[in-house]
Structures are given as structure tokens and as C-alpha cells.
């Protein structure tokens, strides 16, 4: 691992490994416990493959009761637990720890209820994102958030990461589409948040659970809202001589009151890589390529296509194609959807970043990235969820060249610092995990981080659930709970009293 410090393995836990494995077999009988190194190899990393670690033992429970017993067992014995869904995290959220039980939720793979009148689906957390849509599409419904890993990623993992996708400007993130969960706390207690109704009573624990990266509880059931599929969708493929013009076009589309279903931008290196790979017919003489997809009734889509086309012309577009068939619309997307593998063809390895910026800062950030690219001697291609400012720079490197991974990581860190500097954030949808953990102080001061960790203390006071993720430095809850009150030092006389 390139310089990433993880929590020191607990010697007592390591010493008692055989006993723990045996106890896990009692709690989860059958095939649910894996402890042979060669079989655990499949779980040693997630989508962030640069980091690998075999866990203490892999446990695959099937019921919430088993999850509860495993967590309670571990909690009383001070054993760490790392939850894992499908293992598609791009930030190392499911990276195992040497002394931790890896709790794999893939056997929770059933849809429990489909309720069309209330437009909700209740699913176990191991059901894939696309599996939910597959269960309801014959009735013309779908589940809106569509992370690019949707064929594999689990809905429980989506809750843990608050996953987005290309349609989230219009349809929201996971947090806006989940109505309820059942979860197990580290002490084994099972709680339900929300349900088929809107808004939960009391504090919005569902809101804080969504995107908590597996540090607060283990999700054992998810209730999501489903939507009726739009009648139709059409796309425009628009090329610009500069990223400034492309960016202004996006701003003007939104300024005209149009929220497209999807709005994606690619820079020159990404356009070329994608075109070479899938021959989507992308123009090669432009600096920025914009895909704008409009969905809804065809009368609306046709109306908006006209408006967007006019806005594109006003902003100096040099090419503007409008899809005339479903096949053509898909061909516009083919290059964008293949952007990652396309970049994979032109470089032995690539490293995908995930900052979000205020959209107007795009030209400045792209210029900064060009400078950094020169400084580090590594190429970079950009794909951009243009509507919401979520940038995915792909840094090109070769892991076989000694030192290049480190260089790519430093380059990535500098890009994220730049994102924060212009008013953006470290991660738009991939999560902090281990990858951006040590960059958290770029965005938050110690008081901010301490308050986040105090939330953790309310759920898991012993820091046993997924430690080493999200927070650069874990502080003990007792220490975090101490209050430093300086009586008499407060500027009380300055406060106006009435």
C-alpha cells in the first residue's frame, strides 16, 4: 500500500482467530464462513484495486438475526467488522482489515415486496441496483439512481455510499430515493428508519445513514421509491471549440429553466479515446463535447430539443446532432459510457477521481489540471457530469513503472485540493473511503471532523465498524465527549440583551 496507514491489527484478535472462525460457523452455519486464504482472495479488495488486504475471516450471513448476532459477538469481544456489498466501491470503502471480520451481504438477494399503488419496492441489501429496475420494468417502472456500476453494485452499498449516476441532477441521489431501511447497530440492536411513508419521525437518521460508508450500521433491508419510465428520451451531441463555451452552454440551459435528464461533458483526450474505441461518430476537432438528454412526453422533449439547440448555437457550438432514433441516442451515449475502458486502452492503468466543483470554475480547473499534468508528466482525460459539476478526471499511469502509482495519487490529491480551493468538494459520488481519507482536512477543520466522529460515537462508541475509513485520525469517544468550557472567557458583555 502506498503509504496508507490502517489501524494496527489487534494482537488478541489475531491470536484468537481459530476460535472466532469456529464461533462464526455456529452463528452462520453452512457455507457462510470462508477462512481459507485462497478462497478469501476474491474479497481482498473492492473497486479501488490498488489496495489489497486479506480479512481475518469472511462471513456471509443470510438473515438480519445472524447479522445481529455476529455484530453483538464482535462488539462484546472488541473485534472489528468491515461490511461489504458487491465490492464495487471506488474509494476502498470495503477494503478488508487484517484483524476484521468481513461481513459480506451478497446473500441478502431477494426482493421482498413490490407495491405499485405506493410506488415502492422493499429489497434486501444485496439486490443489485439494476435488479430493482428489472423487477418492475415489465410494469413500466424503474429505480432512478444509476451509478455506472449498476449492473453489479448492491442497493445496500448504494445506501452506504449515497450513490449518484448520470440522471441525478433531475432525479436525485440515493438519499432522495430511499424511503426506509432496517439496520443493525454494532451492539446488535435492530432499528427501522422510515418506511413506505414520507419523512421519518424524529431525527433524520436515514439522512445521516445514507452516505455513511458502512461506519454507522449494517443495512439489512431497503425501501426505495420507484418511478414510471419517461415516455421517451432524445439526446443532443454538441461540440464546442473551448470548454468555456461548453460550460456557458450548460449554464444557459439551466438558466432557461431546463433540467435535462442527463448532461455530460468530455474533454479532448476523453473524446479521442472514446472515439478510437467505439467509433460513436464523435467530432474530433472540438475541445468540449456535450451530451444533453431530455426525457418525458415526446411533445415536451421535442419542445426542449429546439430550445437547447438554439442555446448551443448562441454559445458557438461547431457541431450539433440531434438523435432521430433510439439507436442514434444510444450511439451518442456509447462513447461516454465506454470512456473508462477507452482510456484503459490508451494507458496501462488509470486512476479515476471524483471531485465536484461549482460549474463556472470548470475552465479554471481544467487549466490547473493541464499544469499539473505537465508537472507530474502524466496524462489526464476528463469526463464531467456537467449539470451538477461532478468531475471525473482519469489520470493515466503505468503501475509497472516504479513510483508511477504514487505519482498518480499525488496528482489526484492535487486535483482534489484544486476542487476544494474553487469552492468544491473532495467527492461527489464515490465516497471518501480510504482513498480520500487523508485529504479530509482540506475541507474540514478539526472541530468539523470531531463533530462527525461524535455521530459515529452515538452509533458505534468503540469504533469497531469499518475503522480506518473516512476519518484521517480516529479519536476515542470518551475524549471526544469531553467539554472544554472556559468560564468567564466568553465575550458575554458584547451580546446585546433586550
Amino acid at each position: 500500500m502506498s503509504g496508507l496507514a490502517m489501524p494496527k491489527p489487534d494482537a488478541e484478535t489475531m491470536r484468537r482467530r481459530a476460535e472466532i472462525v469456529a464461533d462464526m460457523r455456529i452463528i452462520v452455519p453452512g457455507e457462510g464462513v470462508v477462512d481459507a486464504a485462497n478462497e478469501m482472495r476474491a474479497f481482498e479488495s473492492d473497486g479501488l484495486t490498488a489496495y489489497r488486504q486479506l480479512p481475518l475471516v469472511v462471513v456471509l450471513p443470510e438473515t438480519a438475526a445472524q447479522v445481529s448476532r455476529v455484530l453483538k459477538y464482535c462488539n462484546t469481544r472488541n473485534i472489528r467488522v468491515v461490511p461489504r456489498g458487491s465490492g464495487t466501491s471506488l474509494s476502498g470503502g470495503a477494503l478488508p482489515l487484517e484483524d476484521a471480520v468481513l461481513l459480506v451481504m451478497s446473500r441478502f438477494n431477494r426482493i421482498l415486496q413490490i407495491d405499485y399503488p405506493n410506488r415502492v419496492v422493499v429489497a434486501q441489501p444485496g439486490v443489485t441496483n439494476l435488479g430493482i429496475t428489472a423487477a418492475v420494468e415489465q410494469e413500466g417502472f424503474y429505480y432512478a439512481p444509476d451509478p455506472s456500476s449498476q449492473i453489479a453494485c448492491s442497493i445496500g452499498g448504494n445506501v452506504a455510499e449515497n450513490s449518484g449516476g448520470v440522471h441525478c441532477l433531475k432525479y436525485g441521489l440515493t438519499a432522495n430515493n430511499v424511503l426506509g431501511i432496517e439496520m443493525v447497530l454494532m451492539n446488535g440492536e435492530v432499528v427501522r428508519l422510515g418506511g413506505s411513508h414520507l419523512d421519518q419521525e424524529g431525527y433524520d437518521l436515514l439522512g445521516v445513514m445514507t452516505g455513511s460508508e458502512g461506519l454507522l450500521g449494517v443495512v439489512t433491508e431497503v425501501t426505495v421509491r420507484i418511478l414510471k419510465m419517461p415516455e421517451t428520451a432524445r439526446a443532443l451531441l454538441i461540440g464546442f471549440p473551448t470548454s468555456e463555451e461548453g460550460g456557458q452552454c450548460v449554464a444557459d440551459i439551466i438558466g432557461a429553466g431546463i433540467i435535462p435528464g442527463g448532461m455530460e461533458m468530455m474533454d479532448r483526450p476523453a473524446i479521442h479515446a472514446a472515439e478510437d474505441f467505439v467509433h460513436a461518430g464523435y467530432p474530433l476537432d472540438v475541445e468540449a463535447l456535450l451530451i444533453v438528454e431530455l426525457d418525458g412526453p415526446s411533445v415536451e422533449v421535442d419542445h426542449l430539443i429546439g430550445l437547447v439547440e438554439a442555446i448551443a448555437h448562441r454559445n458557438g457550438s461547431t457541431t450539433c446532432r440531434i438523435s432521430q432514433s433510439e439507436q442514434e441516442r444510444l450511439s451518442f451515449w456509447a462513447g461516454r459510457k465506454a470512456a473508462f475502458p477507452a482510456v484503459g486502452r490508451i494507458s496501462p492503468d488509470y486512476y479515476c477521481m471524483d471531485g465536484t466543483i461549482p460549474r463556472k470554475e470548470l475552465p479554471r480547473v481544467l487549466a490547473g489540471m493541464r499544469d499539473l499534468s505537465e508537472k507530474y508528466g502524466l496524462g489526464v482525460a476528463n469526463v464531467f457530469h456537467a449539470g451538477d459539476g461532478n468531475l471525473h478526471p482519469l489520470i493515466l499511469y503505468d503501475a509497472n513503472v516504479p513510483g508511477e502509482l504514487d505519482k498518480a495519487e499525488s496528482f489526484g490529491a492535487d486535483i482534489l485540493r484544486l476542487c476544494v480551493e474553487v469552492g468544491g468538494v473532495l467527492t461527489g459520488e464515490h465516497g471518501v473511503g480510504v482513498e480520500k481519507r487523508d485529504l479530509m482536512p482540506e475541507m474540514f477543520n478539526q472541530i468539523d471532523l470531531d463533530q462527525q466522529m461524535r455521530v459515529k460515537c452515538a452509533f458505534d462508541p468503540n469504533h469497531l465498524l469499518n475503522p480506518g475509513k473516512v476519518f484521517p485520525q480516529l479519536r476515542r469517544c470518551a475524549e471526544l465527549g469531553r467539554m472544554h468550557v472556559h468560564r468567564g472567557q466568553v465575550a458575554f458583555p458584547d451580546i446585546p440583551r433586550f
Partner: protein, 401 residues
């Protein structure tokens, strides 16, 4: 009795630090427009945020607006309207219901009470649109969470945690919301004369179609006369709102008419008349009678709520109407000791949800659990969370009890 009226976040911080040092609780308020909701507080001091005002950032093309927590909502809505934008979650105004001035309330209060309106069905509540906050915890520490961009998963979402916390976790000083374009046109399709069960079925049918209905409410007979200055007459009205670009709205209304043609007599209501109806539904105008008869706000699965209401009618004198496709029930009840238990028992029996007593006399509020009581494990978790933000219980103590 002192009222602190800090004009800056720094002075909010020093006030809370002082209160923490003195172990003295504070009542946190903006305009006090929702002061009648929740357990009555008996604190010696009040922290009044109404002077902590001002828009700090508004970039329409970036869909983002930041303001100090005490900024009047009405001012912000005006600013957004000038730019063709809005808070899509349509925050309600409790003024009419609580018998106070309408048009009051601060943006901090919008988040602290997680306001929404009829468009909640499609667009979510305040919790779904909050992007970032700055706040002072009961520990006397200024912290921030989130950011100013519409897509962000960096760290825990403490901004959402503030939604519906009624000032019991932290004092908000700054909030940043996602804002969205306002619809060009809105038209409401009314189906007349339906009973509750037929209305709920019609609303489910409409919401399950691709007509993108943004709001669906049912006003039973007589209640219908109490919105939009009686314009609807007193026959039951099942209302479906369609918003968007002109040609699209025409098309979708036609689609709904075909879909629901057999459900009952149909009526189309456009423009200002439509807006007036939804404003009154949003603000619970049918029960805004200037009195103090208890009003409950109940959230359940849309297909279940009317069954609960039917069962309730067998045992109590209630008036009811429905928003959110039937899932939000506004109930006007008689002040009667058993009302809370009866209502909450029936909610549990009909699939679950929650009930909040949003209007009642102070003694009545002091005697009842105003907010839905939670099961033991969840209540314990909430209490631990409160302690992590406000260990000395100095922020609105007991309000959510």
C-alpha cells in the same frame, strides 16, 4: 429573562458558549412562527436569530443559494421568483393554522422543521434540498457540513441531520440550499364527488402513469369549500397538479383525462386559481379557523391512510383531508385524553407511519407526546445522538420529547 439577538455567527457562538458555561438552557427561535409546535419550553433565556440575516451567495445558473439562518423565507422566495426559480420543496407556512401572521418564518426554521408542501410527493422536503450548513453545537463549537455544490458525499451528511431537529442539536447560522427553476405553467385537474377510497385509487392511478403529476390531494365533501375562497364549492375534490412547459402540460393533462375519464366529473383549473388551491392545501387552510382545536399531521403509506381515517371516524369526531397521494393526512380532532393513543394505535395497525400534534393549546401539548414516540432502541440512539451534539441539554430542552 433575556433575549439574545446576535447579528453574526461569532456572536451566536459566544452566546451558546456562555450558556454552556452557565449550564443555562436557551430557547432557539427565528421569527417564532412555529413556536406553537412541540412541547412548550420554559427556558429563562431566548436566542433569537431574526437579526442574523442576509443572502451570502446566490448563483442561479449553479442552482445554489446561501443565506444566514435568520433570513426571512418570504424574502428569499421573492428573490428566487425574480430569477424564475423556487425552493422546489414548497415550504408550507404554519402562520394561518397557528393563528399567527402569515408570511413569517426564517430559512433556518425551514430546515429545523423540515418543511415541505404538496410537491413533496415529487420533489422532496427541505432535507432533500439542503446542501450545506454552518452551525453551533450545544458544546459551544462552530462546525460546518456539506458544501455549496449539488453533488457531494464528503463526510457524514450532518446537514440532513439538522432537518426536523427543531433546534435541539445545534443552532444553525448559515444554510445552503439547492434551488430549481419554477415551472412555466401549472394546471390542476379536479375529479369531483369521490369518496376517500375511490379518490385514493384515482390518485394512485394518476401517479403510476407517466403524466408526471407533481401533487395529488383529496378534499372530502365540505372541506373542499374551505380552500381558495370557496371557489371549488363543497363537493369532494380530488386534485392532480401538473407543472412544466406549456405544451407538455397540455399533453399530460389530456393523458390524465383519458386515464380518469370514468372516475367522475372532471374540471380543469389553471393559473392563479390552481396556485391558490395548492397554497391553501399546503398551509392546511381548511383547519385554519383561528381556534385551538387539536390538529394532527400524519404521514403513512398513501394506500393505507384512508383506512386508518375510516377506523378513526368510528371512534372519534374527526375532520380529515389528504395530500401526498393520500399519504399525508391532516386531522382536526376534539381535545380528548385518548386521542393520541387512539390515533397512533390505528396508524401502527394500518402499516405504520407517524403523527405529530401540530396545533394544540399549551397545556394540551404539555400533556401529550407531540412527536411520534420511538421504539426503545431507536429512542436510545436518538438520545445518544442528542448528547453528542448537546451534552448539557441547553438547546430547546424537551421540545421534541
Amino acid at each position: 429573562m433575556s433575549t439574545f439577538t446576535p447579528p453574526s455567527p461569532a456572536e451566536v457562538l459566544s452566546t451558546v458558549q456562555w450558556a454552556a458555561a452557565e449550564d443555562t438552557p436557551l430557547e432557539i427561535q427565528g421569527h417564532g412562527s412555529k413556536r406553537g409546535i412541540g412541547r412548550p419550553l420554559q427556558t429563562e433565556h431566548t436566542l433569537d436569530l431574526s437579526k442574523l440575516t442576509g443572502v451570502t451567495l446566490y448563483e442561479p445558473a449553479e442552482l445554489v443559494l446561501s443565506a444566514k439562518a435568520g433570513t426571512p423565507l418570504a424574502e428569499l422566495e421573492e428573490l428566487l421568483a425574480e430569477n424564475g426559480q423556487q425552493f422546489a420543496f414548497e415550504p408550507m407556512d404554519y402562520g394561518p393554522l397557528l393563528g399567527s401572521e402569515s408570511g413569517k418564518g426564517t430559512i433556518g426554521g425551514v430546515l429545523a422543521s423540515n418543511l415541505s408542501g404538496p410537491r413533496r410527493l415529487k420533489a422532496g422536503a427541505a432535507r432533500d434540498h439542503i446542501l450545506g450548513i454552518a452551525a453551533v453545537s450545544g458544546r459551544g463549537e462552530a462546525f460546518k457540513s456539506g458544501g455549496r455544490v449539488v453533488k457531494n458525499v464528503t463526510g457524514y451528511d450532518l446537514s440532513k441531520l439538522m432537518a426536523g431537529s427543531w433546534g435541539t442539536l445545534a443552532v444553525l447560522t448559515d444554510v445552503t440550499f439547492k434551488v430549481l427553476p419554477a415551472a412555466e405553467v401549472e394546471v390542476t385537474l379536479a375529479i369531483r364527488g369521490l369518496l376517500d377510497d375511490a379518490a385514493v385509487a384515482a390518485m394512485a392511478l394518476a401517479l403510476g402513469s407517466s403524466a408526471e403529476v407533481s401533487s395529488a390531494a383529496h378534499l372530502p365533501e365540505r372541506i373542499a369549500a374551505k380552500v381558495a375562497a370557496g371557489r371549488l364549492g363543497s363537493d369532494a375534490a380530488t386534485l392532480l397538479r401538473v407543472e412544466g412547459f406549456g405544451p407538455s402540460v397540455v399533453y399530460r393533462i389530456e393523458a390524465l383525462k383519458r386515464l380518469l375519464g370514468k372516475a367522475g366529473p372532471l374540471e380543469e383549473i389553471a393559473g392563479e386559481a390552481s396556485k391558490a388551491i395548492w397554497r391553501d392545501i399546503r398551509d392546511c387552510a381548511p383547519f385554519a379557523d383561528g381556534g385551538a382545536r387539536p390538529v394532527w399531521r400524519v404521514s403513512m403509506a398513501p394506500s393505507q391512510a384512508h383506512h386508518m381515517v375510516m377506523a378513526l371516524r368510528m371512534q372519534a369526531a374527526v375532520d380529515a383531508f389528504y395530500d401526498w397521494q393520500g399519504g399525508l393526512v391532516w386531522l382536526s380532532m376534539r381535545e380528548d385524553d385518548a386521542e393520541a393513543e387512539l390515533l397512533r394505535g390505528l396508524i401502527r395497525k394500518h402499516g405504520g407511519g407517524h403523527a405529530t400534534l401540530v396545533r394544540a393549546s399549551a397545556p394540551h401539548r404539555a400533556a401529550l407526546p407531540v412527536f411520534e414516540p420511538q421504539p426503545p432502541h431507536l429512542a436510545a440512539l436518538s438520545a445518544r445522538l442528542k448528547a453528542e451534539f448537546d451534552p448539557k441539554q441547553i438547546l430547546n430542552p424537551g421540545r421534541m420529547a
